[in-house]
Amino acid sequence: MTARLRIAGGTVHDPANGIDGEVRDICIDDGRIVASLPDDAPTLDARGMIVMAGGVDIHSHLASSSCNHARRLLPEEHSAEPVTAPALVDGASLPRSGTGGTVPTTFTSGYRYAGLGYTTVFDAAVAPVMARHSHAELGDTPCVDGGFFALMGNDEYLLRQIAAGERERARDYAAWLLGSTGAYAIKIVNPGGIEAWKSGQRNLNGLDEVLTTHGVTPRAILETLTDAANHLRLPHPVHIHCNNLGQPGNVAVTLATMQALAGRRAHFTHVQFHSYGGPGWSSGAAPIIEYVNTHPELSIDVGQVMFGSATTITADGPVEYLLHKSSGRKWVNIDIELETGCGIVPFLYKDKAAVNALQWAVGLELFLLSRDPWRVVLSTDHPNGGSFLSYPALIQLLMDRSVRDEKLKQVNPKLLGGSALADGLTREYTLNEIAIITRAGPARLLGLRQKGHLGPGADADVTVFARNADIAQMFATPRYVIKGGSLVVEEGQLRRAPVGRRLHVRPGYDNALLPDLKRYFDAYSTVAFENYPVQGIPDEPIAV
């Protein structure tokens, strides 16, 4: 660890502290940002460079059993992109080789995130029974602080409590599950729809369609878990993947979900995949972003589609079956006991494919029509809409209208008639807005007070970019990256790979839950109640 370091003379973009392009020093001592340092402290000359906090990825898939099933499915991608071990300088951690592709190996993922200036990443979908696996993968993902969200929107015990009107018991269970698995937040994927897929009902298409096995609706699941997260004062509210992902006309259920939770804090994820008009394909971005703009209790990440190879990995099993049938690509489905599902289909987004071009446009419209960058933050739903390695190219599309317009001329225009993007959106994001949607915004939405900014007391996670007229090039190759005070990237090269901190919560609950829960485990679970909680989770939980 670099105990003390002055990053001197850079142009600082620290929107959380109201700093927009001011030349000033950033001082680091013992892993934290401090107000000042003695004059003889070591200095990193950042004159002429741009200084931001380390990036924070609010929604990625990088460390889960589902990711590992996807890795296993893709030897062709791995053999095309072998990765040798980096030349690390300090000997503290063993440099590791790996393979790339859309789902890189764990060490390679950590190195590559750091190489983009990202220092905090969350895996957005972990089956609780597989939590042990995610902790192991995160342990092998260096350079980034990380955690995961626990899948609950199709959980058998939870559905039973909702059906019985036992919402407090449901909340206690959610709290127990978060603490037992070392998760950070509650995730809902296709509420009720995965259980419908597993039980033969195939899917649920509307908020009030009844899941026949349990007599429960998506609306009740959403309300219960949203209220649970807010009542438990979790740092991040419920993280929602709506019903009907990827279907034309799904804008209706997305808006209905937002309206159902009106006035309640909630985060909607990869909203691009949920913003399509119908019954044919069209952009539904405008009504969605208008609703978000006028409802400050909501936040979203976009889930931008980027043209090229992707791998779709989701708990949303029914969607992956449909994608397999429509694309003809190979398909993995894993039904996960009592909790959720997993589907995987490799995919190629083509700019000449009309639906893919529409998806690309919808994502950009959400960004460009957003009036509050603090609540509309960047994601590609890695690797679903594209790899996290495409973030720099996405930033360029947002900051440079000429690049965007040029690309727009190349894509299939068939479904873009009447879309805001095709009609001409002149907005260009500023560097400060980029700092918000990639750093300050996600950190605030995640409730990470020490992340996403450069004020005294913040974690010393800093990215320094050399100015470059090519925005994509600039964001792809930071000159320096500092993680927890450690100089991870120096002169554009990965030099250190510290172990990241585990971000998790352990909210309290009423112990009266436990006898009933044990009876349930004894009756239906194949993992003993006593063996279910993960032991030895690194780092203390975040206070709630």
Binding site: S65, R71, R72, A85, L94, D140, K198, S199, G200, W331
Partner: protein, 424 residues
Amino acid sequence: MSVAHQVEHVTCLGCGCGCDDISVTVQDGRIVDAIPACPVGRAWFGDGSVPWEVLQAGKPATLERALIEAASILTKPRASLLVYLAPDITSRAQRAAVALADFLGAAVDTATSDPAVGGLLAAQRRGRATATLGEIRNRADVLLFWGVDPNRRYPRFLSRYALEPAGTQIPNGRAGRFVIAVNIGADKGPAEADHTITLEPSEEIAALSLMRAAVLDHPARDQSPNLASAIGLIGRLTSARYAVLVHDAEPTDLPRNPLRVEGLIALAQALNGPTRAALSSLRAGGNRPGAESVLTWQTGYPFAVDHSRGYPRYMPGDRGLDRLARGAFTAALVVGSPVLAGEAAAALGGIETVAIGPGASRAPFPTRVAIDTGTAGIHEGGTAYRMDEVPLSLRPPLTGQRSAVQTLEALLEAVRTKRPGSSA
């Protein structure tokens, strides 16, 4: 004699079932009972006694000297190395062993059997439709056993997961399930099946193909009686709410058509059109799926990985043990029980071999260094993976003198001291 004590909720790794409901009785440092372990589980636990020696060229040595010697062997210039992962180690030990292989530029091979490899490769071509064992327990209303009776080698599979227990969607347990046995020659399904058909081995692949065609609404005509009986199963499978096909992914005494697994994968996937279906692949014990899982997240490939060029290469057609038998390696690190036999053992005896694991000092081949450690789940806690790749907690009933993971991490430090910097 000391008073016996119980250790509850112990996880058994005797087969891939991963039963974690075992109550182990310990007295005087020995396991004296394991309930309700099956015969396979009892054999796995034994009395828990293992040797605790450290040997250098067959003679007792200190751990420190043995590690220095092992590091010297593994870091020799121009060495060509194999790291072999036996099944009975925790995933943390597997992670440490693959880290060593990466640093040393070694090839890695595992106890993944050839039939299991066939399944992994077929799934890489096609994907797969599967489920964790609890889904089978809670949902399967039609079960089809393809040439396997789990009672033989996975004795609690039927009572814990597949047949007898009541489930969330199967409140009446066995009475709520229809069981089909497909005998493939002498590979017979369970005797308690509700319906049994028999196919000659020569008919098997055609049957799987025609069954899939029937699911896809392409009924075949003019088939032999046996094939017609196979196609006749489709009505029962497609009218299930949740159909589960079960096969044995491990080798048996009988030769097996290697195309079987791909036929079953394709059939299970196709059944998800008219209904829901999953293929359950029975795997042997230890922590075999753990090795495949760790290798996948660290290298991108589930088995047969070679680091000799400074990055992971996939060599599924030329595995480490095959290359070992051909004399491709100058040294080897065997991690876990050194139970290799035949050509592999002979080849290990002919090169410089380091063995670290349970019973390393009793290896059936000469070793330069042998360091005994505990066994996963008996002396060592951590994680092991069930046959369905669910990670399980291990509660060791006995205390070991030396853990595999600590020994491997110490060895890694020793080799890094011998050869600073990366292998790249």
